[in-house]
């Protein structure tokens, strides 16, 4: 009977060591938030903390002058339920802002924004 409380305590301890993320928040992006890159990307790749309902995710990528440069809606990334990719057409250097609205499979909506700079 001593095994049960012990294993429970171990399990609890292990669980506490891990941060829990609920709702889809941005885990990483390519180009990365705040980064400076030399060549313009063909797409912006966003990775979240949860699986996404991509048909209802919205991403706008704005040029320094405020013009939207994304060329299509967010696309699912096959094999990665927590990722989406947004094709962009970037021709000029400058600071680009990514504004995202995500819907995760737990039915929750989240949003955020970040920027990256293109300087050849």
């Amino acid at each position: 009977m001593r095994v049960l409380p012990l294993s429970l305590a171990v399990l609890l301890g292990t669980a506490c060591g891990f941060p829990a993320f609920a709702h889809a928040f941005l885990k990483q992006a390519n180009p990365a938030p705040g980064s400076r890159i030399t060549s313009p990307p063909a797409a912006v790749l966003l990775t979240y903390t949860e699986g996404l309902e991509v048909p209802f995710c919205k991403v706008t990528v704005k040029s320094p002058s405020g013009i939207a440069v994304q060329t299509a809606k967010p696309q699912p990334v096959s094999g990665h339920a927590d990722e989406l990719s947004v094709p962009v057409h970037i021709t000029a250097p400058g600071k680009y802002t990514v504004i995202w609205h995500a819907v995760s499979v737990d039915t929750h909506r989240t949003q955020g924004h970040f920027s990256f700079t293109v300087s050849p």
Partner: protein, 290 residues
């Protein structure tokens, strides 16, 4: 109606859907187990009533969730989003599949096959867990939360879902059958309560983390409400077990009144569950800035 109003309405529909689904399943479960030798006791109408509530709540939830997904500004926005929600989201496909399973279970139950009916409905009950945070997250924490949610939902569905059927059975059965039924339901209820407590504790650690969040966040406040309602439910169950069950059949009216009260509290818990599932768990509030 402002955003909060829509969220509350969606939560209400989801809670109602859960309650109807649970009671339809619980009726099948009780018929398949403790009432198995009581085939003459017809609980079909009760199960259909649960099914109807599950459909009604589910339909409302589906529409309101579609509106929320699409950030709809008009009815036509919602209508445009419906096929996408139904065919291309986990929420939509899961809800429709679960309702399909419950319908199939109902038809089997109607035919007089409560065991297969209960088994199929049980699949529909636990599938709900894949819409929670555990189902959405990957890695150790996600798996852990999903596992907890499956157990939590199963225990709640067996215990709370069986209450309406238990009420009807205790009301209709002959006097000599009351004591065995009430006595055999007790350990089942205890097992469910234990499972609910342990899984709730894990969910607390993973999703709330800090006890003070119970008093400072909306999520915590609803969790606390659930806990208080749960405590009241346990108190009623203890009263049933030690006070009213031993003095059956004389105490039948008192026991029935108590189980009725339990069912009402159970509904309140499920409505609170519908609400908490719409809210942001405190453990991830720090992430919101990114």
């Amino acid at each position: 109606m402002d955003v909060t109003g829509w969220v509350l309405l969606r939560a209400f529909c989801r809670g109602l859907h859960l309650a109807g689904f649970f009671s339809a399943f619980g009726t099948m479960f009780l018929s398949a187990t403790l009432l198995h030798k009581r085939g003459a006791l017809r609980l079909r109408r009760l199960a259909w009533a649960g099914f109807a509530v599950a459909c009604l709540g589910g339909a409302g939830w589906f529409l309101l969730q579609a509106a929320d997904f699409a950030a709809a500004q008009s009815i036509s926005d919602v209508i445009g989003a419906l096929p996408i929600v139904a065919g291309q989201t986990r929420f939509g496909t899961l809800l429709l599949t679960r309702m399909g399973l419950l319908l199939l279970a109902m038809l089997l139950f109607q035919r007089g096959w409560p065991r297969s009916a209960a088994l199929i409905a049980f699949g529909g009950v636990v599938a709900e867990a894949w819409l929670g945070h555990g189902g959405a997250m990957t890695g150790f924490v996600g798996t852990m939360l999903l596992f907890c949610a499956v157990l939590h939902i199963a225990a709640a569905a067996i215990w709370l879902g069986a209450l309406p059927a238990l009420y009807v059975a205790l009301k209709r059965l002959p006097e000599d059958a009351l004591l065995p039924l009430a006595q055999s339901f007790s350990p089942l209820g205890m097992a469910c309560v234990g499972t609910l407590l342990v899984t709730a504790m894990f969910q607390f650690i993973l999703l709330i983390t800090y006890p003070q969040a119970l008093f400072t966040t909306a999520y915590g406040a609803v969790a606390l409400t659930k806990l208080v309602l749960f405590a009241a439910l346990i108190a009623l169950a203890v009263l049933n077990r030690f006070r009213f069950t031993p003095s059956l059949p004389a105490s039948r009216p008192a026991l029935l009144r108590n189980i009725g009260a339990e069912a009402v509290l159970g509904l309140a818990v499920l409505l609170a569950a519908g609400l908490i599932l719409q809210l942001e768990p405190p453990a991830m509030a720090d992430m919101a800035g990114m």
